[in-house]
């Protein structure tokens, strides 16, 4: 039997069997919408019933309901990716609501968008935050609020460079310092901002643990598809701060639905490199 025939006879992989994909998808979608009978795809079904079905079967039945990432991780990764892409406002609002529905806090969502300034720029982050404001305003007051006050400030100004350097080392190891140093000959201040702003201001913030920050970074770099070197840096960093191989693979699989299969396949190619390097070390 050729390898190809084996593929035909026994699909590789360990995911759920193909039966009940629709039912499983509807159950997952119900979690995201927080309603028993989600109607969000009804307008789609009017003119493209199969697209509505695929969204449920593939997006929610095959992918979202997989183990390997928690619903909270999936929703943080999704809102990060949609914030970075910046071109799918209705879905961003929907998934901010979904993040709240599966237990993310308002603070975690806001932190994810503050984190997005680094990877997608301030305009994308500010627009995502506007979407969050709208979604929060339409919800009951206490919902998704955690003990934290949203307006609680992050770390005081203090020695941002020193604080950033420590965060950079904790997250990226020696490679991060190397990236900064490589800018010395051409754009030293950009290197300084990388330490002070990205690591001193953002990574050192409470409100989102480092593994979730790196999950969001990897999601954004994968979805954008324009940040190959940075995707590799952050895949390493995600492993450094406790992320797993399984989570990386699940994340890439999830990105197929939100940024397309090319983005996911290119993400897997980067992951293969970094995981091989990690296995050797």
């Amino acid at each position: 039997m050729t390898q190809e025939e084996q593929h035909a006879q026994s699909p590789a992989g360990t995911g759920p069997a193909p039966s009940d994909r629709y039912a499983r998808g509807m159950a997952a979608l119900a979690q995201v919408t927080g309603t028993e009978h989600p109607a969000v795809l009804d307008p789609v079904a009017e003119i493209a019933p199969d697209l509505a079905r695929f969204t449920i079967e593939f997006g929610y039945g095959d992918v979202w309901s997989r183990p390997g990432l928690t619903p909270r991780q999936r929703q943080i990764a999704t809102v990060a990716a949609l914030a970075a892409l910046g071109n799918a406002a209705p879905q961003l609002r929907f998934h901010i609501g979904g993040a709240l529905n599966v237990g993310c806090t308002r603070r975690e969502i806001v932190e994810t968008f503050i984190h997005a300034t680094v990877y997608a720029g301030f305009p994308a982050a500010l627009n995502a935050l506007s979407a969050a404001r709208e979604v929060f305003a339409a919800r009951p007051a206490g919902e998704g609020a955690d003990d934290d006050d949203l307006s609680r400030p992050g770390p005081a100004d203090g020695d941002r460079y020193q604080r950033g350097l420590e965060a950079l080392r904790a997250v990226d190891g020696p490679e991060g310092v190397h990236v900064v140093r490589s800018l010395d000959d051409i754009a030293p201040d950009l290197g300084r901002y990388l330490v002070e702003y990205v690591f001193g201001d953002i990574y050192a913030r409470p409100g989102l643990d480092l593994a979730t920050r790196e999950l969001a970074s990897v999601a954004m770099c994968t979805a954008l598809g324009t940040a190959g070197p940075q995707l590799r840096v952050h895949l390493r960093a995600f492993l450094n701060v406790g992320g797993t191989r399984e989570e990386i693979v699940e994340l890439m699989t999830q990105m197929a639905g939100y940024a397309g299969f090319p983005a996911a396949l290119n993400g897997v190619a980067a992951a293969r490199e970094i995981l091989a390097e990690h296995d050797r070390a």
Copy 2:
């Protein structure tokens, strides 16, 4: 005479002579708008009359009116590219209308957007479908309807993997199976989804022939500019299912107007590689 001087004296290429570019452009634009005297660029002309003129002369006079792709092919490629970019809603609506005006059916447009889930993700596809719903609703009821009912379902669930594998072989030849197999060691389920969802669910659908599907795939990968390996796979696939060298070159030329010259030039660089490989085979 140097090669450079030749360029100056006799522009290379076989396109129409530069005279009457405006008149030819207006005639093309009239086909797309379905009106004798298109006024769509009048608001542009108010503050940037040259931009309005360039759109007509270059976009429609030079490019759109060229032979090599039919008006239907041009409109399918354009709505596919704009759906994937996801950041030009007014133009997407305009060109959905244009697609209907040059003879595309509603089903073909809807199928193009279902196909877009694969290359640009579900959010981009769902937003394009919303645009289509708006455009369809504003049109006379029967226009653009073909014999097909839009709500007619695609292939039944059945053996999606087997059906997908057959479609994959028909479209991509052995290379497609190789891409799937290359995921076995790291993300086997993503490979499975590629077979089941992309080929079993989407490529196996009626409503859009394989050559048009691949035209749309190439248009989307070129416009996104982030899917280099996939662009090459689909250029090969387009040739496999009957696409021609001329159509590829025309498509890349068309993309200059919708996604910019860098996207078009990078697309041509990929096409050069694949066409050279094809000529050798």
Copy 3:
């Protein structure tokens, strides 16, 4: 002392000291908004006060207020980048207003968007122009108007190929002609459009000097992140028409805020290559 420790103790670079970042940022923001007490970030501060603070401290205090680019150059680069990204309409409108506030003319802004057709496609350019029309309409009639009439036409049709070839040589030197000639075997008409449309119609226009055109080209290619070969061509061209190393580095630093750090870092990597090549020559 290791190099790393030096980094910790004395941040590299020549930017302003970290004190007073907020005050300096507010002063810069006041220039952009044209108001003494800018309130534009108040809605952000309601749910993400630190993001509002970072926008002011980092975006305006650290970056915008740096020397190396004039406020006019910064605003042209920003509106060019946001036009190309196409996914941040509120910020695009804000920065069109900001461009007027720091002394750009309406014509320069419109020219920047006409120029954007080349790098980001006509849809992105047309949408940016719509944003400009809105912003202009909400302003006092004479403001930002220069001696030029916005409706003054560019160069007449004439010999577009010859005019384009001259502009191509002036801007890109022999490399530009090489790019065009490299298309002869596969897409000669695309090469012709590059000469006729990009250089004959666009680069030869008055209303924006060549250095500003190339600044905008580099900003767009950097922000898009999908135009690596073209970014390198235009970095060379920017140096050819009088741009400086410092301006390039400042522009990349500015792009960190509008398109994210990955875009900026990839831009610096390209700049390092081209500047090294330039130093050798």
